[in-house]
Symmetry: C2
Subunit: 308 residues, 2 copies
């Protein structure tokens, strides 16, 4: 008898595994290391070994949902640069290990958006968008309760919205001026360094040894002028992205997640302020909220892919 | 026996009516005037009278699809400013007239996008976007073969993408810097006037009495410097919009329609050029093409709403 589904969120450092019942309740969660050796060829075996320890009778498992950090089309992985996977047939390999074909794979940021929609900040809304602000920026678009994958698996790649028109900083993708270059944790640090190096104003952040987005946000909250200017810039660009999204798929609700979102309502209120300055008036009831599930959004979303 | 569906595209000046068979083949099409008197209260009766003349036995009609110029949620019209309709229950009124409840209503630009997808330039693609460049700018987003309506009926309102960050021209929507202000036929004329009035260069357009987007496009094709600069600006902004769309819903194909698109491959190649400068590399196989159905896109799309 089927009792469980697994939600598996594969990251560059660790794999988060969640064991859920068929009501979508998380029963247990744990992490294993991501072994990226030899182009990630050990990752699926490691997951299998971990799964079978907790559920020796795999016949009780209804399905396995995966979130992976890369481009995915119809559960086929095009590319996961961080894991060394390219045109990697995860579904076929893993289905042989577990003797189960109810396996669905999607992009990790998309899956996190689905997690917030199924069990987090956007429960009850058919149309939502999640923007994940971390070292980079990811995103996910939910339309009528389903992830939008896109033709090339690039739907919701909101970090690569081109937002700085001229002299934008080079992005990891090779382009210039992507949202990720100005509003991710990395973008926050770079903007701070730019402003500090071109300013005569002192900053309380100077004394800190480890420059981080958190340190800069905390300094801004204390009134540090340079840090405040950084946060105005960051929230302007995220508000801008929200205004764009609100006339493309026109979500009920936009959820801000990822490490940077721990800055909380301080950040959220500024994003909302800029959104409202730029938005199309008929979308004024669009809500912008903070994510609720933190790092668990991925396993919740992955599980809900296969738990229908 | 059911033999027909109607595709009805209600505009501010005329109502286009298409009679289709159940295979989606257009059998006849015609226009009637849009009578906007008394907040558009005569429009539906006029349509009914026109419909019943061509198909006296309404039992043969399977359904009626409508495109309307305004915001629509779940076939409920929130607002059609040009027609004087607000919270107008078209479905309930028209279903009583024709004694048929298979009536679906959506935004006209969204319906045109569906028309191109079902019978025009984007046949065979599950994910597409249409940008309609006319006096204003409309748009429609197709995901998995279906129109994205959005939470407040504003999905695909691409004319209100905020694209000019500073000192943008005032848009009809009350905002500043919308795509419509810089890339519609009106935007083309305004940009031309701005450049001409601030330039010492002569333009061959000066001699023409009726300034229009077409005149400016034709002059640009002939090497008129000011007109060329206008077209570079217009195509930059449309290319920018395409780059945005390509990482939000990530369509296979983007179709450019509306009166301005009659400028043809001259315009298309420039849009494609700017798109490729700004796009996220993994979406490089996104195609940008010209619309095929012209003014008939609306009736095709409207018919396909109810012809399943």
């Amino acid at each position: 008898m089927k009792k469980y589904v697994f939600g598996i969120d594969i990251g560059g450092t660790s794999v988060k595994i969640g064991l859920f019942n068929l009501e979508g309740i998380l029963l247990e969660k744990w992490d294993i290391n991501t072994n990226k050796e030899e182009n990630g060829k050990y990752i699926l075996n490691d997951i299998y070994n971990s799964v079978i320890k907790r559920t020796p009778n795999l016949d009780e498992v209804s399905g396995y949902g995966f979130g992976v950090p890369g481009l995915v089309v119809d559960s086929k992985i095009i590319k996961c640069v961080n894991l060394g996977w390219e045109n990697y047939d995860l579904k076929s390999i893993f289905s042989k290990l577990v003797n189960n074909t109810n396996i669905i794979i999607k992009n990790d940021a998309n899956v996190a958006a689905l997690g917030e929609a199924s069990s987090g900040a956007t429960i009850g809304y058919k149309n939502s968008v999640m923007i994940t602000l971390g070292t980079g920026i990811g995103g996910g678009i939910i339309v009528d309760g389903k992830i939008v994958d896109g033709a090339f698996g690039a739907a919701g790649e909101l970090g690569h919205l081109h937002v700085v028109k001229e002299n934008g900083r080079l992005c990891n993708c090779g382009n210039q001026g992507c949202l990720e270059t100005v509003a991710s944790a990395t973008g926050i640090k770079n903007k701070f360094i730019d402003l500090r190096d071109n300013s005569n104003i002192d900053s309380i952040v100077d004394e800190k040894l480890h420059l981080s987005a958190k340190v800069i946000v905390d300094a801004a909250k204390q009134g540090d002028l340079i840090s405040e200017e950084v946060i105005e810039s960051v929230t302007y660009y995220i508000g801008y992205a929200c205004s764009i999204l609100s006339v493309v798929t026109n979500p009920d609700i936009i959820v801000i997640g990822g490490g940077v979102s721990k800055a909380g309502t301080y950040l959220l209120n500024k994003i909302d302020h800029y959104f409202r300055k730029m938005m199309f008036e008929p979308v004024k009831n669009t809500r912008i909220v903070l994510a609720k599930l933190g790092n668990d959004a991925g396993i919740y979303g992955a599980a809900s892919l296969v738990n229908k």
